[in-house]
Symmetry: C2
Subunit: 234 residues, 2 copies
DNA sequence: GCTGGTGTTGTTGCATGGTACAGCGCAGTG
DNA sequence: CACTGCGCTGTACCATGCAACAACACCAGC
């Protein structure tokens, strides 16, 4: 049969039309370029992206699994509303996993790991000074993903990232949330506590860090309550 | 049948061919009826299920997202090998989320909630006495899902269930794992501790419970090491 | 005016055909 | 014998056509 023959996944990285469409549509949903409640159409998206309906349709199925859109047969596909309940669930998942990972990282972090985290933080400070918000987003993700890798559960990042998408979408409601510098300082405290082997300090810093993001979202809710739906039937 | 666990999907859960195929194929993978490494074929599956390739293909894409199969573009679709690293990640995700949920449940559990848990446990004892293993599996899932619902994060069960699929697949390697009665007793300890408001006792009982399942898997690894792959390239 | 039926349009679900490519056997050559 | 190139086969990827159905406009009848 097929003994080995499993080459190191060129499949996952190979850009096919479906992956291409998925990333573009997901990004547009997270950045609110596609607003909650907006009607999507397989045909329309296919035309815009220069593809046929098939890869578009497959992308939408995956996005439905992520709860970013919902599909009503014979009616249409709609961008999911921003449900407070979804955000709270996402926050719960992210916080639980990141805190658990951090706890296990204390006994595992090597000097190289700490150096890597500090390198990312340095890059974040540069991005901050240049006011490149998009760059900071990428580096923020890299920091948290690296931290999860240090815990030995790097492949759990996929799960966190999925939850994070919902949080990020809510964050995008506010154009000016907490300044980057505050977040970067928190990254530094987490890293320093980890380097010092102080798990409790690292955990409380991480919790405060993640909660701050969540609180930003709550603040947006105060100013734009109409954007948040409590009842899915609404 | 399904209690509030699947309540996350409002009304859009109409049984279509894709969902039908997805559930059947996933079940066959988890129960090892489709062995790790087995070659799947859109055409062959379509023939077996009496469908066309389209819903089959969409199912396989979703299963690939769950890491239960992997697709190599012009080669074929294969059932994912049982990677120890995947199992450990799944255990990490499940344990983190269930313990975090349990912690929040202590202050929220009502007498009705406790009664509901006890009712499930009673049903489990009946299933045990009748040696209906399949029934116990369903009730076990219901117990844990209910517990997560009590924490107020019921929709996070979807995430736990996805991790659980990998654990269950590994468990199926062993036909006779830990007797049900031990697991039921642990459910009882967890429930009683929760009813008494003793969060620490509930947490340690839950940790022991989840670890026992994980240890069952480790035992299987001792007896059937060839079934576990450590290196994906192997 | 109001209600019920009907035709039109738009949508997703599913079926099917064409295409590019990986893998393999095999013949031909050095 | 070793090696290279060619063609055959099977696969996933994508394009496209058809069917089923929901929503809505509109009109006939009351």
């Amino acid at each position: 049969m097929d003994s080995g023959a499993l080459r190191a996944r060129p499949a996952a990285t190979r850009r096919n039309a479906r992956t291409h469409a998925l990333e573009i549509i997901r990004q547009k949903i997270i950045t609110l370029e596609l607003a909650p409640g907006a009607r999507l159409s397989e045909n329309e998206l296919a035309g815009q992206l220069g593809l046929s309906r098939t890869p578009i349709r497959e992308s939408l199925i995956l996005l439905a699994e992520e709860q970013l859109v919902f599909v009503v047969p014979q009616v249409g596909t709609l961008v999911a509303p921003i449900l407070l309940s979804e955000i709270e669930t996402a926050q719960f998942v992210r916080e639980s996993l990141e805190l658990a990972a951090l706890s296990e990282s204390v006994a595992r972090a090597t000097p190289d790991d700490i150096a890597e985290l500090n390198a990312i933080i340095d890059a974040q400070r540069i991005a901050d000074s240049r006011k490149t918000q998009a760059g900071f987003f990428t580096l923020d993700e890299e920091f948290h993903a690296t931290l999860m890798g240090i815990s030995g559960h790097g492949s759990a990042w996929r799960t966190v990232a999925q939850a994070k998408a919902h949080l990020d979408r809510a964050r995008h409601l506010s154009l000016s949330f907490t300044g980057m510098s505050v977040l970067i300082d928190q990254h530094q405290v987490i890293t320093d506590s980890l380097a010092a082997g102080n798990g409790d300090a690292a955990a409380s810093a991480m919790r405060e860090h993640l909660r701050r993001v969540f609180n930003d979202i709550a603040a947006v809710r105060q100013t734009n309550p109409e954007l948040f739906t409590l009842d899915p039937s609404q």
